[in-house]
Structures are given as structure tokens and as C-alpha cells.
């Protein structure tokens, strides 16, 4: 595309027939039909949040074929797990998914505990639920803001961040950090909840409920937003099954699939909540599911604060530095903000795990993008991408 063919004094002229771009673009372009444009979105693009790259074959405004290119943020977490003891590896888990680190904390700690037969005390279990749900709310809030920003509304993300800051302040009291939290330990949690933490959490729950009402009037009921989302990018249960999509994407498709209820872990059987279903399977449904999940998480937080039992937060004999897992194989999964967060751990009885496989929900959710975005407008493809709630470090691991 060299315009009208003026001689360009600034660079080499593009010769006809030469391919531009890297291996992925060249490979993708081979299958392109003539007359269509290959558009490269990312790895630095405002709507790919992080370093995701999407190749799209466009005809005018329509995306006919799309392909995600991954790996720009690959940090070898799984390999690192093989050369570190479980205790040493724990901080890595907060960095896999920076928006919902406590789910990953829980998945890894849970897997090791399951293999080693450790049973954390009651209070630790409740604190895990409490902190994990607070963290889920903050993750959904950030998604909400970023998603509306993808649709062109720049203001809500700053409102979402205001709430998120409050949650960060609360979680900072017990976890000690605001972003890449590493709160869980083998056999318990690292710090106990103090009165300030509990008081702030109690205050926060009704506050956020009020704010959610405001968001409904301000954003959810906005006619432009609804027109942009309703009927866009339907993803049914069958497609979710084929690609292994879980979490809000699957629940919006109509399947009440929630690990917190289906494969109960922690204290979830003692909580009164129900997975959010009954929404349309389009982008708007996925939007509503997440907002409903914020409310159900608020319920769980409220119940957890009320029911928090006294007692120790650590097993009597916590694993020491020379802790050795028994040989064996285990899989432990928890419900993260984006879906099923799973850790498959194989141990040969040594200090370090023999092999660790991290099952990232975002990876499966992203894989259905190519099919869901087929034949949509570019703006809809961006909306679908946003509605999947992708966190790139988690996908690339």
C-alpha cells in the first residue's frame, strides 16, 4: 500500500510480491482471500490490554478470520515451579494473574495440601474465602471499567478504580500488598484478620451495593451501551464445551457451572449463594453475569465476616524449608474470576515438584475468540474480546 506511488525519500520502497511482517503474519496471510486486508492488532493496542496480539482478516469493517498470537508475556512459571520448593514458588502465583492472585494462591496451595494431606484450620479456611471473594470483586470491577473503556466510555474505569482502591486498602491489611498478593501458605494463611480489617470490610459491603445501583443507572441502562452489547457475540454452551471455556463466559451461556458449588472447597458449602445464570448468551449477558457475581461475592463476604470463627490460622506443624511432598499426582481447581483455575501437580517425592501444569481459564476463553469473532464488525470483535475478560500474563504464564 504505497499510496499513489511517489518515490519515498525516507525509506525503502515496498516491492510488489514481498511479504511484510513476521512469521505469524506471513502464515496468516497465506490463507487470506484476495482483496482482504490483514490487520494486526497488538501486541501494543489499546483494546488488547497488555500484550495480546490479534491478526484479523478484514473486508472493510468486517472481520472474517481472526487469530490470537500468544507468548509475548511468557515467563516460564511452570518451569520455575519445577526448580523451586512449594514455599519458594508461592510468590509466583500472585504474578500469574495479577487481577485475581488469591485464586491462584489457593489453587497451588490447595494442590500441595491435597497431596501432603494438610488440613488448614477452620479460621484460615474462612479467611481464604473472605480474601478470595474480596479479590474477585476487585477483579470484576476492573474488568467492568476496562470493558466499558473498550466500548469508548472512558469515565467508568476511574469510578471502578475508586472502589478497587478501597478493596486494595482492605486486602493490604492482611496480605501486605496491593497487587501481586501472596497471602496463602501451606497449611493456612500468613496473617490474621484484625479488627480494622473486619470493620473496613463491614463498611465496604453496603457501600459497594449502593455504588452498584448507581452504575446500573449510569452505565448498564445506557442506551448506547445496550445497543453495542445486546445480541453481539453469542457464545452458547456447546461452543464453551468445545473450547473448554469456564467461569462467567460459561455461566452467561446458560450453564450454572461454578466450582465453588459443584466441587466445593474451602468453606463454600457453608455459604448461601447461587451461581449467576439466566442471562442472555451475548456480550451483554456476560456483562450482567459479572455484575451479578460482584453482588453474590458481596453476600459471601458478608457471611464470611459474620461467621469468621476464632482459632489458629496455621496448622500446628507448618511445613518447614525441607518439606518434601509425598510422591503422587494431584489436581486442584478453584473458581477464579475468569473461570476454572487449576493446578496439576506431579511429585516424585523430592523437595521440588516433578511437574506443574497451570490451567489458566483465560487461555481457553481466548481460544473461542476466533470462532466468536467470525463475521463481526471490528467494533464488535473488540467488544467480544473485552467481554472474555482476558488477563494476558495468565494466558501466557
Amino acid at each position: 500500500m504505497s499510496g499513489l506511488g511517489f518515490i519515498n525519500p525516507f525509506g525503502v520502497r515496498e516491492l510488489p510480491g514481498t511479504t511484510t511482517g513476521d512469521f505469524y503474519t506471513a502464515n496468516f496471510a497465506q490463507k487470506a482471500q484476495p482483496g482482504r486486508v490483514i490487520l494486526n492488532l497488538g501486541p501494543q493496542h489499546p483494546s488488547t490490554h497488555g500484550v495480546l496480539r490479534i491478526l484479523a482478516e478484514m473486508e472493510g469493517e468486517y472481520v472474517w478470520r481472526a487469530e490470537p498470537v500468544l507468548g509475548y508475556l511468557h515467563r516460564m512459571h511452570e518451569r520455575m515451579a519445577e526448580v523451586k520448593t512449594p514455599q519458594q514458588f508461592l510468590p509466583n502465583m500472585g504474578r500469574v494473574d495479577y487481577l485475581h492472585p488469591l485464586a491462584w494462591n489457593w489453587a497451588y496451595v490447595g494442590a500441595v495440601e491435597k497431596l501432603a494431606g494438610l488440613e488448614p484450620p477452620e479460621r484460615a479456611q474462612w479467611l481464604r474465602t473472605l480474601s478470595c471473594e474480596l479479590n474477585r470483586i476487585s477483579s470484576h470491577l476492573l474488568w467492568w471499567g476496562a470493558f466499558v473503556m473498550d466500548l469508548g466510555g472512558v469515565t467508568p474505569i476511574l469510578y471502578a478504580f475508586e472502589e478497587r482502591e478501597k478493596i486494595n486498602d482492605i486486602l493490604q491489611i492482611i496480605t501486605g500488598s496491593r497487587l501481586t498478593m501472596s497471602y496463602f501458605r501451606l497449611g493456612g494463611v500468613c496473617a490474621d484478620a484484625d479488627d480494622r480489617f473486619l470493620a473496613l470490610t463491614r463498611e465496604f459491603v453496603p457501600y459497594l451495593r449502593e455504588r452498584l445501583k448507581m452504575y446500573r443507572g449510569l452505565v448498564t441502562d445506557n442506551v448506547i451501551l445496550r445497543r453495542r452489547l445486546e445480541g453481539v457475540g453469542p457464545i452458547d454452551v456447546d461452543m464453551c464445551r468445545r473450547y473448554g471455556a469456564t467461569g462467567p463466559v460459561l455461566r452467561a451461556a446458560g450453564s450454572p457451572n461454578d466450582l465453588r458449588r459443584d466441587v466445593p472447597y474451602g468453606t463454600y458449602p457453608q455459604h448461601d449463594f447461587w451461581p449467576a445464570t439466566g442471562f442472555p448468551d451475548d456480550c451483554f449477558g456476560r456483562y450482567l453475569v459479572r455484575l451479578a457475581e460482584i453482588e453474590s461475592s458481596l453476600d459471601i463476604v458478608e457471611q464470611a465476616v459474620r461467621g469468621l470463627p476464632p482459632g489458629p490460622i496455621m496448622v500446628d506443624k507448618p511445613p518447614k524449608a525441607n518439606f518434601k511432598m509425598p510422591a503422587g499426582e494431584t489436581y486442584f481447581a478453584v473458581e477464579g474470576a475468569r473461570g476454572q483455575v487449576g493446578v496439576h501437580l506431579v511429585s516424585d517425592g523430592g523437595k521440588n515438584p516433578y511437574r506443574v501444569k497451570l490451567r489458566a481459564p483465560g487461555f481457553s476463553n481466548l481460544s473461542l475468540f476466533a470462532e466468536a469473532a467470525q463475521g463481526t464488525l471490528l467494533a464488535d470483535a473488540v467488544a467480544i474480546l473485552g467481554s472474555l475478560d482476558l488477563v494476558i500474563p495468565e494466558i501466557d504464564r
Partner: protein, 324 residues
């Protein structure tokens, strides 16, 4: 009108003043927009440079002036450098027929609004040139959107203004203002509310502002047609965007809000107050609404605004005919 020396000098002085207005407007609006956006988003906005961040816009423009102009390879360079100039230059002409005050008009033109509408169309040309010549697919998509959008929205815009022209029987902007009274119920907005509504919607779309900022839709096209512009190239687009905003606001003030006529003490301050109230409205909705999709934007125009404006025009014609 013979182009005498006096008129020539008058036009030169007017153009110089308009350039001053454009630059001053951009500086003020950058600050107002950033502050308003900050308050809408519950944050302070710029506050570091100068008292309450007042010098922020000056700093920004200095930065843009000093920036190295970076162009990608394989651009169509004559067009690439022409595009910002094409965006900027017509704006100078557009301000000539605007009656800022009773005696403050650069050039009395009988077909003032015709001149404005004719030259305002050049904005789309500059967008095409910028998008086409940048050797960038986002730019190309943005340019395609810009053309479709401005072609579509110019029609109901003209139709809406035509209804007022039918009613008043003049295309001279000064006569238009003199036909309206000082009080709000004497303004054309009361007699032509539908035309005013259609014009305001088209005004936002014509100036490529959110929620109709499709040609530069950030989350889809990064920056659309001006993706590859840096330094002064970008600054000229920026300047002309704000100048165009101010221009359509002035036209709205003159056509529908009584121009320089106010409840008391007629004068140019009323024109400016009204125009900047509309500017603030544009800023306000930009930071409130999400962006519409491209097909929705065109549907809104062809399915709603265009039939409505035709209906309005027809009704106006019938009423004018009956009244005579």
C-alpha cells in the same frame, strides 16, 4: 462586492484575528476539556504546571512544537504533509462570515452559511488524505469511516439549517441574528426545536467527537486517520478539530440561540457565551457516553435524522406558505 483595498486589508486583519482566536481557543479548550474530564472522572485533572494547572495547555503545545516529526516508511509524503494543512486552512475562511457582535463581522457575505457549509466539507478531504497517505491500515480504516460519516451527516445538517433559512428567508448570518430577539423565547430554537436537535446531533458527528468519534476510535483504531502524525502534524489536526468545534458552536448560536442578542446589553460576549456553552456540552457528552458502532451511526443518520429533517423542512415550508 468589488474587492477593494479596504476589504482586502479587512480580510487580512480578520484572518490574523481568527488565527489568534483558533490558537487561543485550542489553549483554553485543552485546559477546560482536561479539567472538566477530570472532574467528571472524580480526579483533579492537570494541576502541576502553573496555578491550578493553567499553563498545562501552553506546555503541551510547546512539547508538540518541539517534537521531532517521525514518519513511517513508504508514506505518500506530499499527501502526508498536505493533509494537516488542508485540515487547518479552510477554518480560517470559515470564520469570516460569522457575526460575533453587531459590528464585529469579518466580512458581510449575503450567502454566509453557504460559504461555511461549502468549506466545512474540506475537513473530510483532509481526513482521507491523512488516512490514505500514512501507509497504515488503521489510518485507512479511519479515513474510510471519516468520509462515510461526514458525507452522511452533512445532509441532515444542511436540511436542519435550511428549515431556519426557509423561515427567515435569509442566508446572511447577521440578518438571521437581527431577526431573533434577546430573550430565549424569541430565539429560533423555540420556533425550530426539531431542527436545533438535529443540528446538535450532526454537530457532534461532523466534528468527530465522542460518542461519534469513529474515525479516531481509540479502542478499535488506536488513533484512526491521524495515527502516524506526530509533532506539528498532529497539532494542526488537533487545532483544526477544536476550531471546527468552535465554528459549529458559533453557527448553532447564531442560527438557534439568538447570536449576540441577549436579555440585556447586546454584544459579542453573548455569542461567545452561547458558543462556549455548546462547547462545554460537547465535552460533557464525550466523557459520559460510550461510543456507538459504525453501522449504528449511519443507521441513526439515514433512518432517523434524515427523514426527520425532511419532515421538518416540509412542515416549515407548508407553514411559511400558509402564513404568507
Amino acid at each position: 462586492m468589488a474587492l477593494s483595498l479596504a476589504v482586502f486589508v479587512q480580510i487580512i486583519v480578520a484572518v490574523l484575528l481568527v488565527i489568534g482566536l483558533m490558537v487561543g481557543n485550542a489553549v483554553v479548550m485543552v485546559y477546560v476539556e482536561r479539567k472538566a474530564c477530570g472532574f467528571i472522572q472524580r480526579r483533579p485533572g492537570p494541576f502541576e504546571v502553573g496555578p491550578r494547572g493553567l499553563l498545562q495547555a501552553v506546555c503541551d503545545s510547546m512539547k508538540l512544537l518541539g517534537k521531532q516529526i517521525f514518519v513511517p516508511g513508504n508514506i505518500d509524503w506530499p499527501l502526508h504533509f498536505l493533509a494537516p494543512v488542508v485540515a487547518f486552512l479552510p477554518v480560517l475562511l470559515l470564520y469570516l462570515p460569522i457575526p460575533f457582535g453587531p459590528y464585529l463581522t469579518s466580512l458581510q457575505v449575503d450567502d454566509g452559511i453557504l460559504l461555511i457549509l461549502a468549506f466545512a466539507g474540506l475537513g473530510a478531504v483532509s481526513n482521507i488524505l491523512a488516512g490514505w497517505s500514512s501507509n497504515n491500515k488503521y489510518g485507512l480504516l479511519g479515513a474510510a469511516r471519516a468520509v462515510a460519516q461526514s458525507v452522511a451527516y452533512e445532509i441532515p445538517m444542511i436540511m436542519a439549517l435550511l428549515a431556519v433559512i426557509f423561515m427567515t428567508g435569509t442566508m446572511n448570518l447577521t440578518t438571521l441574528v437581527e431577526g431573533q430577539g434577546g430573550w430565549p423565547w424569541q430565539w429560533n430554537i423555540v420556533r425550530q426545536p426539531l431542527a436545533c436537535f438535529i443540528y446538535v446531533v450532526c454537530l457532534v458527528a461532523e466534528t468527530n467527537r465522542a460518542p461519534f468519534d469513529l474515525p479516531e476510535a481509540e479502542s478499535e483504531l488506536t488513533a484512526g486517520f491521524h495515527t502516524e502524525y506526530s509533532g506539528m502534524g498532529f497539532a494542526l489536526f488537533f487545532l483544526s478539530e477544536y476550531a471546527n468545534m468552535l465554528l459549529v458552536s458559533f453557527v448553532c448560536a447564531v442560527f438557534f440561540l439568538g447570536g449576540w442578542r441577549g436579555p440585556f446589553l447586546d454584544g459579542f460576549w453573548w455569542t461567545f457565551a452561547k458558543a462556549y456553552a455548546i462547547m462545554f456540552f460537547i465535552v460533557w457528552i464525550r466523557w459520559t457516553f460510550p461510543r456507538v458502532r459504525f453501522d449504528q451511526l449511519l443507521n441513526l443518520n439515514w433512518k432517523w435524522l434524515l427523514p426527520l429533517s425532511i419532515l421538518n423542512l416540509w412542515l416549515t415550508a407548508v407553514v411559511v406558505k400558509l402564513a404568507n
